[in-house]
């Protein structure tokens, strides 16, 4: 994609002014890092609070006669009973049970369903939802809104000064409120494994809110580089890398997104495959790998068994700043997926020892009760 076609978020000027290194990502010019660099930004988020611009992500309202019920036609989770004020993670499925995208869907208020999808997939996702769900449901894209994420153990203390009730919410709560003088759609969630918030704001107010949050010395801007290493440590898959249209939720180790009720009813796209994989085990499954010394194993590195036979592939990997060691995630046959299984990762032609470990690699710190 040439630079001329890249879009800018409302925070572009703020990023450049802060010394960000801008790179193409999901069709946007996005900050991959600021002056501190990936390592310090990562560690700052784990110890204090990091502020991320994720305005490239797709935001939409699903409105209609019964949008929650209709939404169940494209995902394997329970949404009919989703209470106002709650958010759920889910996956859009194709008819073969492959994942079109992963997403957050919530009811911040009584105005239908509020959906946030990945930036690189958003046009396709919303077109797909429209094809599947219209005319019963309309997909109203919220392209005039920006999305900020404030993540880290001090996020709550920082945000409380602006949105006092945020301290009373728990992980995966979602609500609509007035904050910073504008209407805000907010959830207590994120993509780092830390406590924190994702805050949808009108685009025209984004830069002012961004700067207001950064006036707090506990908050620093964090680029996409650290966002990636943080989510990797949190064991969270990245769409287009760890998950794609060939991968089922069972293979992706996202079985929690397939509800018991829907499993029994088998009433979602690709149900036959997914129910079979749940019963018999998938042929391959996403696992976490700790690389025991040597270089990081990155996306595309082969995974071999201890006899040297190639059995899988790394889909995300790198150096985990919080652990001071390389970690990876990738796909292996179910028979080799148990925690403690010894494997090798092949980096630049050399086999390095690795071991299947439980994810998250770094314990998450979601606030589940207050």
């Amino acid at each position: 994609m040439s630079d001329e076609t890249l879009k800018k978020t409302p925070l572009y000027d703020a990023h450049v002014a802060a010394g960000a290194r801008m790179v193409p990502f999901a069709g946007y010019e996005m900050p991959v890092q600021y002056k501190d660099g990936v390592l310090k930004e990562h560690l700052w988020t784990r110890e204090s609070a990091g502020l991320f611009d994720v305005s490239h992500m797709g935001q939409a309202r699903l409105r209609g006669v019964s949008p929650l019920s209709a939404f169940e036609d494209v995902v394997p989770g329970d949404f009919i009973g989703l209470p106002a004020g709650r958010q759920k993670y889910s996956v859009l499925l194709n008819r073969k049970g492959g994942i079109i995208d992963d997403l957050m869907a919530s009811r911040p208020d009584d105005d239908g369903l509020f959906v946030i999808v990945n930036g690189a997939c958003k046009d396709g996702d919303f077109a797909f939802m429209n094809d599947e769900l219209a005319p019963q449901v309309t997909i109203d894209r919220l392209e005039d809104r920006a999305l900020l994420a404030l993540q880290g153990p001090k996020a709550v203390a920082v945000l409380k000064a602006h949105i006092p009730e945020c301290a009373d919410k728990v992980f995966m709560d979602s609500w609509a409120t007035t904050g910073f003088g504008v209407d805000v759609l907010i959830s207590r969630s994120g993509y780092t494994g830390e406590d924190g918030y994702e805050i949808s704001v009108p685009g025209h107010a984004a830069e002012r809110i961004w700067n207001t949050l950064l006036e707090d010395e506990r908050v620093r801007p964090i680029g996409l580089g650290a966002r990636d290493s943080l989510r990797l440590e949190a064991g969270l898959p990245l769409y287009g890398h760890d998950v794609d249209e060939t991968v089922s939720p069972v293979e992706a180790a996202l079985t929690f997104a397939v509800s018991k009720k829907r499993r029994d009813a088998q009433d979602f796209p690709g149900a036959a495959r997914i129910v079979k994989e749940l019963a018999e085990g998938p042929s391959r499954v996403r696992v976490g790998l700790k690389v025991l010394g040597g270089p990081p194993a990155r996306e595309g590195a082969e995974i071999a068994d201890t006899n040297g036979k190639v059995v899988g592939i790394v889909t995300s990997g790198g150096f985990a700043p919080s652990l001071g060691a390389p970690i990876a995630m990738g796909f292996v046959p179910s028979a080799l997926s148990a925690v403690g299984t010894k494997l090798n990762v092949i980096v630049r032609g050399r086999a390095g020892a690795a071991e299947v470990v439980a994810m998250p690699f770094v314990p998450n710190r979601y606030v589940r009760k207050v």
Binding site: V32, Q33, G37, V38, L39, K40, H42, G225, A226, D228, S229, P295, P296, R298, G318, F319, P321, P326, R348
Partner: protein, 121 residues
């Protein structure tokens, strides 16, 4: 000290060239978390992949700025890869190469030429 367009530096002492990556390269890479230095005894041709330097985000090749035989590698980078960021053009050296053709060194950029080159990037 001489420099390449791939941002390696060379300091020649007799026929032994100490090589590393420049301060500019180290800054661009960000925090170095892993370095793979060449094996002692390895024969390199100018432009060969000589070492690998990894940041949190990515792995980057380091190319041999001159031809010759590796006579020493900086083993300290194994335990302290951050040395590459701290002192890239001194303690963060990667290898010492017994050069087979010293004229290759003369043909590289001097500091003024390298800085002029950086200004074009």
């Amino acid at each position: 000290m001489r420099f390449t367009k791939d941002h390696e530096w060379v300091a020649l002492d007799g026929d032994i060239a100490t090589v590393g990556i420049t301060a500019y390269a180290a800054e661009q890479l960000g925090d170095v978390v892993f370095v793979e230095v060449p094996d002692v005894g390895k024969t390199l041709t100018q432009g060969d992949g000589m070492a690998v330097v990894e940041s949190v985000k990515a792995a980057s090749d380091v190319y041999a700025p001159v031809s010759g035989e590796v006579v020493e590698a900086n083993g300290e980078l194994g335990d302290a890869p951050e040395t590459v960021n701290a002192v890239p053009e001194a303690g963060g050296w990667f290898a010492k190469i017994k050069v087979s053709d010293p004229s290759q060194v003369d043909a590289l950029m001097d500091r003024a030429a390298y800085e002029a080159f950086l200004a074009t990037l």
